[in-house]
């Protein structure tokens, strides 16, 4: 089945054909794709917040299921809430909540409004840039659980963050960086104002006292820029040197310090040139680039946030026959806990009682639920889809499998070996050349005129460092990063732009990247006189009673007549139930055809018989035999094929490495036009394939969305995560496609290449200018006014060249939504 007619009013997903659900919005019936979206849309408009739909600039996240009020039961208990939240003056409490699905400023408006309407809420501040909200409420008037329910009702899934949030640290870091940037910017403007009369004064003749005065004032203004705004660079350089390595900060700091010290010396002695304008511009542009990068990194979120999203903060402990809600942190090894249907395991452990099915896709990538008989191990962060389970806790806090993975990623993120190395090589190379050049000049002058050896060598260092390194690279990177951010592509590590321009291969994890990562009914085949709509309605009525991931593929028909009764779950095979006097079975082929009374050789109808692979087909049957077959797929993204083709045009062949079934992988590969693909790979095998490619000299871009992709993303030369993917994948990514659309990917690579070209042009121009101007000026052939104009023009050319990157590309794809994505860029 394909999309027909208008997309879902709430989430913008295509509505399966034949399905009619309407949400009552502002007196009109709007089509929606599922009951989850219907509930959310009706709640939002019912609360008088319908303006949200007028102001939002991206579609909302699909509400997979109607809100589950019981999920927040633990947060209704005052003594537990007291331990999880912070005290505020006047008996109020506060907590920071991470909001999943917060995608634009309108979403944050919605969250703010919806909460403010609740009585007892004292303050709400929602930050769309970091997707966090800080709530202050009066526990005597409203329960935290109710506030979380409100958030869930408007389609934003809340994740309460315990303890002192990293958010506060990030906020302080952002503010400090902004202040430094302001000092550099204001300082640079002032120094430029003094630089112009100095340059023209050289040409037209200036009162020496006034010249002296201007130079001293420039120095005065430059001191805070060099010392305060430039401080992070010196710190970085110092750390790198202490670790016996060379980072980009080392030549940068060297350039600032040398140019500044030389200028101060010249200003005080009244001889030679001053370079205060270069120094301040250098600090400002470098600082600007770093600031944009930091914003993107904060948006991507920290590892601690990822954990908060994955594992619940509360648990239900059984002690002496009494069940009580406790903090997940309080659990100890040996405790017994109860995990009900639909809940997430708060700790690792072994099943004591109950026959469960657990969705472990976040750890293994396996999309079908694993059966969990008593005695089997369950893991923190996985999802209980089956019956309630009683679990004996085996590992808590830092010892669970999940926290092991997270700790690994945290370490990898802190070290970031591959990127650092690439940048260091470039920096060391450049620094080496400059130092050798300066040494040569010094040596030559030593023999010609020892008195001029030092000033000459210094001149070489001063003029090459700021001009080439300062403006050529940072301005281009800053322009590219902000241009990408406006399109909803976050660059968490600017070095990735350079690597991306050299990329030769793209590795895809299929699910969630090429496909949407949501199972939907794609096709319905019917036997006899049953219509597709009827079959789908019956199937939906049955599946609504199930928690199996496949059940989510059936989006619900909403017709009240189709209510299934006497539903029984036959584990691993399917469901049986009664709808309006008709016994129906849905599930595997043998199961669906096997109702007592059905003909032995069940309805070998041609259209049903050819339905091949068991994994992606679900059958519906009654006493007369098979009625219908549903093909379930994780639908291909509309833009996937085009994206792969455009990447191939850019010289990047694609390859799929998937943990999924071979047949499913092959079908997707064929439809995308990808030749190389491998299926049923564990995360380790994916990494092996990646290493093999890298061993052949390839520069590999990996695109992933799940936790099981994290090792792949970490090993890749450039890692790209999808905007709706797991938080853990995003923390290990260099680039994040916030709009969750592959259309942006080829553009990003084009822009990376253009950036590299601009950097090279700028470097070539700066070096050529310096090579030409420096010796001539040193030998006295260039009058000072000409050198001054040339110097300014040189900088202006470099900046203007870089600014070309912030304009749109010639091949600008149409945005998927009529969007102004600036809101997400901040």
């Amino acid at each position: 089945m394909s999309a027909a007619g208008a997309p879902c009013f709430h989430c913008g997903e295509p509505i399966p054909r034949g399905l009619v659900i309407h949400a009552r919005v502002a007196g009109r019936d709007e089509p929606v794709c599922c009951h989850g979206c219907k509930a959310v849309a009706e709640f939002i408009t019912g609360a008088g917040l319908g303006d949200y739909y007028r102001y939002r600039d991206t579609a909302s996240t699909r509400a997979d299921e109607p809100p589950r009020p019981d999920r927040w039961a633990a947060y209704d208990r005052p003594e537990l809430v007291e331990r999880l939240t912070r005290a505020e003056p006047g008996g109020a409490r506060s907590i920071t909540v991470l909001l999943e699905g917060l995608r634009c400023a309108a979403c944050s408006w919605l969250a703010d409004k919806a909460l403010s309407l609740q009585s007892g809420v004292l303050d709400v501040s929602v930050n769309p840039a970091t997707a966090r909200a800080r709530l202050v409420w009066d526990p005597a008037k409203v329960r935290l659980g109710d506030l979380l329910r409100v958030l869930e009702h408007v389609g934003l899934r809340p994740h309460p963050l315990a303890g002192e949030p990293s958010e506060q640290l990030a906020l302080l870091e952002r503010r400090a960086a902004l202040k430094r940037l302001a000092v550099a910017g204001f300082g640079n403007m002032q120094v430029m104002m003094f630089a112009v009369p100095l340059y023209f004064g050289e040409a037209q003749g200036m009162d020496p006292a006034m010249r002296e005065y201007m130079r001293l004032v420039s120095m005065l203004v430059s001191v805070p820029v060099a010392l305060y705004a430039g401080w992070p660079f010196y710190q970085g350089a110092w750390h790198a040197l202490r670790a016996r390595s060379v980072s980009m900060d080392v030549p940068v700091s060297l350039g600032i310090v040398l140019a500044f010290v030389a200028s101060v010396w010249n200003a005080l002695t009244g001889r030679g040139e001053v370079y205060f304008d270069s120094v301040t511009m250098f600090v400002f542009f470098l600082g600007l680039g770093r600031y944009i990068e930091m914003i993107a990194r904060h948006r991507a979120g920290s590892v601690a946030d990822a954990l908060a999203r994955l594992a619940p903060m509360t648990a239900r402990r059984v002690r002496g026959g009494v069940t009580e809600d406790v903090q997940a942190l309080e659990l100890a090894v040996g405790d017994e806990i109860v995990v009900r249907t639909g809940e997430v395991f708060p700790a690792d452990g072994a099943v004591v009682e109950g026959e469960g099915r657990v969705d472990e896709s976040m750890l293994t990538g396996e999309s079908t639920a694993a059966p969990k008989p008593p005695g089997s191990r369950v893991h923190q962060g996985t999802h209980n889809l089956g019956a309630p389970l009683r679990v004996r806790v085996g590992a808590v806090a830092g010892n669970t499998v999940l926290s092991g993975i997270i700790a690994l990623l945290e370490r990898a993120q802190a070290e970031r070996p591959r990127l650092a190395k690439a940048a260091d090589r470039a920096a060391a190379w450049f620094l080496g050349r400059i130092l050798v050049g300066a040494a040569l000049v010094f040596a030559v002058w030593w023999f010609v005129d020892p008195g001029r050896a030092f000033p000459a060598a210094l001149a070489v260092l001063v003029v090459t460092c700021p001009c080439a390194l300062s403006l050529a690279t940072p301005t281009a990177l800053a322009a590219a990063t902000s241009s990408l951010a406006r399109r909803g592509i976050l660059v968490a590590h600017t070095d990735a732009i350079e690597t991306l321009s050299k990329a030769t291969h793209v590795l895809w994890d299929k699910t969630g990247t090429l496909t949407k990562g949501l199972v939907r009914v794609e096709e319905v085949r019917c036997a006899g006189d049953v219509t597709a709509t009827q079959a789908l309605a019956w199937a939906t009525a049955l599946e609504q009673m199930s928690e199996h991931p496949i059940a989510r593929a059936f989006p619900g028909s909403g017709a009240a007549t189709d209510r299934a009764t006497e539903v029984e779950v036959c584990a691993g095979r399917g469901l049986e139930g009664r709808i309006a006097e008709r016994r129906l079975r849905i599930g595997t082929r043998a199961f669906a055809a096997g109702l007592p009374g059905a003909p032995a050789a069940a309805a070998e109808d041609g259209s049903l018989a050819e339905a091949g692979s068991r994994e992606s087909w679900v059958y519906l049957g009654d006493r007369t035999g098979l009625l219908a077959a549903f093909r379930l797929t994780d639908p291909l993204r509309a833009e996937a094929r085009d994206c792969v083709a455009r990447l191939a045009d850019l010289g990047l062949p694609s390859e799929i490495v998937s943990g999924d079934e071979a047949s499913a992988v092959a079908r997707i590969a064929e439809r995308c036009g990808i030749e190389r693909h491998s299926a049923r790979l564990a995360p380790r095998d994916k990494l092996g394939r990646l290493k093999a490619l890298q061993g052949e000299g390839a520069v590999v871009v990996a695109v992933g969305d799940g936790i099981n992709d994290a090792p792949l993303l970490r090993g890749a030369d450039v890692a790209i995560a999808m905007g709706r993917g797991s938080a853990l994948a995003q923390t290990s990514a260099d680039l994040i496609l916030v709009r969750d659309s592959l259309e942006d990917l080829p553009h990003t690579i084009e822009l990376a290449r253009r950036t590299q070209r601009v950097v090279r042009q700028n470097l070539a121009w700066s070096i050529a200018y310096n090579l030409a101007a420096l010796p001539l000026a040193a030998l006295g052939y260039v009058p000072p006014w000409l050198a001054a104009i040339g110097m300014s023009l040189s900088s202006v050319v470099v900046v203007l060249n870089a600014m070309r990157l912030s304009r749109g590309s010639p091949r600008q794809p149409r945005p998927r939504w009529p969007a102004a994505p600036e809101a997400e860029a901040a």
């Binding site: 102001y55 006047g90 944050s108 902004l178 302001a182 002032q190 005065y213």
Partner: protein, 60 residues
Amino acid sequence: MEILYVMIPLGLVLVGFGLWAFFWATGDGQFDDLDSPGWTVLEDDQTPPRGDQPGKDDNT
């Protein structure tokens, strides 16, 4: 041109004032969220202001 000996320090004082204002605004959180406040002017606010401000509670 001697006036410059007065004008430039005066200009620097103004810059210093601007910078102080910027620092104050940053510390006050004026730059923490540049997006959502822009939306508040678009809404037709028919709901009365929140009735549970801490100040009001203190008075009761």
